[in-house]
Symmetry: none
Subunit: 234 residues, 2 copies
């Protein structure tokens, strides 16, 4: 499930949006000010950032500038003011889109999805995910490691798919579990660990700097495979 961070001081409004986004399968995480926002940006590692320009203290532009110093995350700015100057400077600061308030929630969702769609590697025509030394084919449900087909169980394959679809993304055990099975969330076992462990073993990924699946201590796991260079362009 996609995760979006909203920085907006209007809590009422945030909660409405949160419920609305949920209906489209998007998890909206809310922050009320710049400080909380920057913290959650690191802790939650969202896929996209929604930034209200009008904030107490640091304003949206400043946050945008700050975030852009260290992150490439897509940013959509939200503002009451509809000035062209505003919109243009927002976009030039590195924002990816700019939506004027009041906006239709439906449109905002559509714009969020439009941007996320581009980032999903799975949207390219050939369904295959190709990395150096690893090819995952979601259609055929096969994984090939260094030319050798791997004999994965369906759960192991799903797990690999979840990880490989979002290279570099830090996924918590909770997130992995809720993607694997419906919304279970509650985690008190080591099921994910053991699946990762078995998958790693079959991937021959036992070297110390893991080639494919890395452990983020205290957080979860992350896929770090290097995308192969032979990208397509139809």
């Amino acid at each position: 499930m996609a995760k979006v961070l909203l920085i907006d001081d209007d809590r009422k409004h945030s909660e409405l949006l949160q419920a609305y986004f949920k209906r489209f399968g998007i998890q909206l995480v809310c922050a009320g000010d710049a400080q909380e926002g920057l913290r959650k940006l690191r802790r939650e590692d969202p896929d996209l950032l929604l930034l209200d320009v009008m904030l107490p203290g640091k304003d949206g532009f400043e946050i945008c500038r700050e975030v852009r110093r260290t992150s490439d995350i897509p940013i959509i700015m939200l503002t009451a003011r509809g000035d062209v100057i505003d919109r243009v400077s927002g976009l030039e600061l590195g924002a990816d889109d700019y939506v004027g308030k009041p906006f239709e929630p439906r449109e905002l969702v559509a714009r969020v999805q439009a941007i996320l769609r581009r980032l999903e590697p799975g949207h390219s025509r050939s369904g295959k995910l190709v990395f150096e030394g690893l090819v995952v084919d979601p259609d055929a449900r096969t994984a090939i490691i260094d030319g050798q087909p791997a004999d994965l169980t369906s759960m192991e394959f799903e797990l690999l798919l979840i990880l490989a679809r979002r290279p570099g993304k830090k996924l918590s055990r909770d997130e992995i579990l809720s993607e694997l099975r419906g919304i279970d969330a509650a985690i008190l076992t080591r099921a994910v660990d053991i699946m990762v462990s078995r998958l790693r073993h079959k991937l021959g990924d036992s070297a110390k700097p893991s080639r494919f699946i890395q452990t983020i201590w205290g957080r979860g796991y992350s896929f770090v495979g290097v995308p192969a260079a032979d990208a397509e362009s139809p």
Copy 2:
């Protein structure tokens, strides 16, 4: 120079935009109808497609759908009608952005640039950080010292990343801690010192004039690695 294809039946308008885009270093290629547009899409191989919805014959939505069957090119739709339904369906058809007419040319240029910026290779901040004797790769989460891969824990790696991303910047312990974990601000332990110490050790950075991480007495730490020649700008 970026190349953009505009499909619009208003030739006068197209020519104005063409001149305007040129001032921003963007070559605007114009087509007056669907047929010409699809032909030029193949012939000119533009980086982005501007699509007027109101066209004689095939309308913009249809063209969008058709283009999307074979191409991933970014599409911005232009329309007179400002309906939310319109905008949403445009975005859901695979358009990347949707601008209502009348629009400010300046804003359109900014939106075009925002999308093109993402496609440019080398723009990605996730490129490797290259210093003399040290390469940090945020994607693979690896660090290489004098050609030797370093065996860093995930926290050590995060710390190195924080420092190496802002060479020369003096970072207080507070700042480092709030980037590493959420905001704890209140610092009464020596956690950062220890992590720096362990990191230095693994970096083989024990010489007196520290090669990579320098202590700023009474303030914090600073990364002093020398950027290698071929690094790209922040």
